[in-house]
């Protein structure tokens, strides 16, 4: 403690020693590729995007005329934007589904059930497969006349849904697909989290007479809340950016634009309609929206995420 104080005093006082400066420089050099990567591929485009959102830039002609807040005014009056926003929020539905299943699956793996390694590989497979290939397979699975899913459903209902032509069902199909895809990936995080809980907690609980259910709800769940929180945040950001599934299942945004998401709409506006300025305005507003949601998540997290004593 004394040593640290002395050191910080030293920093404030005489300035850094040669060694420290050298270390600082080495440190900077170590992180520089990442910083440069961040600046070039994230920060600069971000700045350009915000700037372009105030212009009528169309990407094809070099001229960009400043139009003030026109794009933003247009945006709030644009019914397609609101439809796309609604569809995007729909894509949040998979999060609780895959988090629940992933936790159950991780718990089963943690308890050393038979063949867990095989299951782990099978569950992880969708995550590393090409999304385009998966989508094509799913299109066949959900084919309304010849698909496996509807053959199965027709055992129970008379008119199984037209998954690919009715936007309502297309969205549900995407929800099912995303959930299925992310269970394995998410469970890896949970397996790691479960393994990091000290056994002694459970032993102590057992001695105190806690049953398996109590152990799960009083020890396991609270102790993995940091992981759950992390998964919620990245899950939400990921879900809000759903794009490829829409592009594959409903290349025009679906009937009455019932499937198109915001990111899909941004892409359409930027490259099909060549309204890059407008697309940038949507992207800016949507970026702010995600930022706000994430900040809210962090604020609320203080109430339920266990961060240790």
């Amino acid at each position: 403690m004394d040593c640290m104080n002395a050191r910080s005093k030293d920093k404030k006082g005489k300035g850094k020693s040669k060694l420290e400066r050298r270390e600082g420089l080495a440190g900077l050099l170590f992180v520089s590729p990442t910083i440069i990567y961040f600046i070039v591929f994230f920060l600069l485009p971000l700045v350009v995007c915000v700037y372009a959102s105030f212009t009528n830039w169309n990407i094809l002609s070099p001229n960009r005329i400043f139009v003030g807040t026109l794009n933003y005014e247009k945006l709030f009056m644009d019914p397609k934007f609101w439809k796309a926003l609604k569809n995007t929020l729909f894509m949040l539905i998979p999060i609780p589904i895959y988090i629940t299943f992933a936790l159950l699956f991780a718990y089963a793996c943690h308890k050393n059930i038979l063949g867990q390694k095989v299951f782990r590989a099978i569950y992880y497979l969708p995550y590393i497969s090409s999304i385009v290939a998966l989508t094509l397979i799913w299109m066949w699975l959900f084919n309304s006349q010849y698909g496996l899913v509807n053959s199965f459903l027709s055992l129970f209902v008379d008119n199984p849904p037209s998954w690919l032509s009715d936007p309502f069902w297309t969205k549900w199909m995407i929800v099912i697909m995303i959930s299925w895809k992310l269970i394995g990936f998410t469970s890896i995080y949970y397996i790691a989290a479960l393994k990091s809980i000290p056994k002694s907690y459970y032993e102590a609980a057992q001695i105190d007479g806690a049953g398996p259910r109590q152990q799960f709800f009083k020890i396991t769940l609270p102790l993995i809340t940091p992981t759950t929180f992390y998964l919620l945040v990245i899950g939400m950001i990921g879900s809000l950016q759903t794009f490829v599934e829409v592009q594959m299942f409903a290349p025009d945004g679906g009937r009455g634009y019932g499937v198109g998401t915001i990111v899909f709409y941004i892409w359409q506006k930027a490259f099909s309609s060549s309204q890059m300025g407008y697309a940038c305005a949507i992207a800016t507003v949507f970026g702010l929206f995600i930022l706000v949601v994430t900040v809210v998540q962090f604020t609320v997290s203080r109430k339920w995420v266990f961060e240790g004593d």
Binding site: A26, L60, S61, R64, Q145, Y146, S165, G253, S273
Partner: protein
């Protein structure tokens, strides 16, 4: 010592990443600061012009594997003919092509020559990204413009406001006609005689034939017709989506338009001669035709190779029926063009390349023998192609359509196609019987008008920002 080594390594990493950035610099510049409208010369071409080295030009396109193979072959032939030119061929997936091209233009790295989609040519032309080919077409050494259908050259004219007249901004890479393909075996079995050029069907004849051709139940069900081309029905009936003079006024509430739309929907809804919505979703009309379970389907001539390979029955083509109200028949024709970038450092080589690819006789022959397209050179079309052994037997129908019944689709003549997509986005409501054609057209007219206005406004804005 160790630390020194680490620092040296880090310095190297740093230097490398900075160098990497320098490589990106050229890409970055135009998107951040370049607002001049002077032609940008890419570094690559600038380097090669002054030296005695080969002229390098880049050519970007999309295509099926077969088309790519054909193009590689043709590019090799071109390089043999023009030994001082070297072509770099960039292939992009067709649904990513426009995105990629726009990004490359935005980054000042436009390829010298590239495919030009008819719907989007105006966008590139009005922003000054396309090289004016008018002089070249008149004075070129590769093809005779009189031997090419006039409508094909005119397709790519643009006068700054309308397509169809003015300067030429692309050469047709191919032409696609969209006739009705029919299953000759099913026609014979049902005792239906197909129409001829001189004795065309009208809608009623078509419907009668479709009724006779619709047979069976369940998995053995054979339908008379696939979805009828709405464009053909509307235009043949004397109606239009948008007024043809100014392209500013939506006319989908015209009774002739509504009648045409309802007639198309009724083929399925009232007469049951076309597959239902869920059947179409499971198996497209096109695939159903290939399986011999659909007697008549509208399809483009790009399908020829597929039909040769995958139809085990006899088939042929016929004209679209005439409307009983007007006695005329119209249908769209399609084409993809080849354009040259206005910023190319080697316009001559690039123009020769696209002319060679478009009109070279060997290339045309390869394209039709492989079933990718029909010939664009008149002498070849009416000469050797007529004796070509593979179906369709009625090849003259294709050229009759091209000469007498084909027109450029209206949506290709407007600046963007959003209004048209919007029209189709909920059209299933009519084809599923949830709405009548009248209800649908009335409900959507204002939205479509708004989108068309936006499209026209965007065109005006584009031309303003480029001049």
């Amino acid at each position: 010592m160790k630390k020194k080594i680490i620092i040296v390594i880090m310095c190297l990493t740093f230097a490398l990443s900075v160098l990497g950035l320098a490589g990106c610099r050229q890409t970055m510049e135009p998107s951040t600061s370049d607002t001049s409208i002077e032609p940008k010369v890419t570094e690559e071409s600038a380097e090669t012009t002054g030296t005695e080295e080969k002229i390098k030009i880049t050519f970007m396109g999309w295509g099926t594997d077969a088309e790519i193979a054909t193009f590689k072959e043709m590019l090799a032939q071109y390089e043999t003919k023009y030994p001082d030119v070297e072509v770099e061929y960039i292939v992009v997936a067709d649904n990513e092509f426009d995105t990629k091209l726009q990004t490359m233009i935005g980054a000042g790295q436009c390829p010298d020559a590239f495919y030009s989609h008819i719907d989007r040519m105006m966008k590139y032309a009005v922003t000054g990204n396309l090289y004016d080919l008018t002089d070249y077409v008149e004075n070129n050494e590769i093809f005779d413009p009189d031997n090419v259908w006039e409508c094909l050259i005119n397709l790519y004219r643009f006068d700054g406001n309308m397509q169809g007249s003015g300067s030429i901004y692309a050469l047709p890479k191919d032409v696609s006609v969209f006739p009705v393909f029919y299953n000759v075996d099913l026609f014979k079995a049902a005792g239906v005689t197909p129409p001829t050029i001189d004795n065309p069907w009208d809608w009623n004849d078509y419907l009668e034939a479709a009724k006779k051709l619709t047979t069976g139940e369940g998995d053995n069900k054979i339908y008379g017709t696939g979805a009828y081309s709405l464009e053909s029905a509307v235009w043949s009936n004397g109606a239009e989506w948008v007024d043809q003079e100014t392209l500013t006024k939506v006319q989908i509430d015209d009774p002739a338009f509504i009648q045409a739309l309802q007639w198309c929907a009724d083929l399925r809804l009232v007469h049951g001669v076309a597959p239902t919505a869920s059947e179409t979703e499971s198996l497209s009309d096109y695939d159903r035709f290939k399986q011999g379970k659909l007697a008549m389907v509208g399809a483009g001539t790009w399908s020829l190779a597929d039909f040769w390979a995958n139809c085990d029955f006899e088939w042929d083509v016929m004209n679209w029926p005439v409307s009983p109200n007007t006695g005329k028949s119209e249908i769209w024709f399609g084409s993809a063009g080849l354009s040259v970038s206005s910023t190319t450092a080697n316009p001559e080589a690039a123009c020769n390349l696209i002319a060679y690819l478009s009109f070279n006789e060997d290339a045309q022959r390869t394209a039709y023998t492989m079933g990718q397209a029909i010939p664009m050179l008149k002498d070849m079309a009416y000469g050797e192609y007529m004796n070509f052994e593979k179906p369709p037997a009625s090849k003259e129908v294709l050229f009759d359509i091209l000469e007498n019944h084909a027109r450029l689709a209206t949506q290709s003549r407007t600046f963007n196609q959003e209004w048209f997509n919007e029209f189709y986005s909920n059209i299933d409501a009519v084809f599923n019987g949830e709405m009548t054609a009248q209800q649908y057209c009335e409900s959507i007219k204002d939205t479509i008008q708004q989108l068309l206005d936006d499209s026209n406004a965007q065109k005006a804005e584009y031309s303003k920002s480029s001049n």
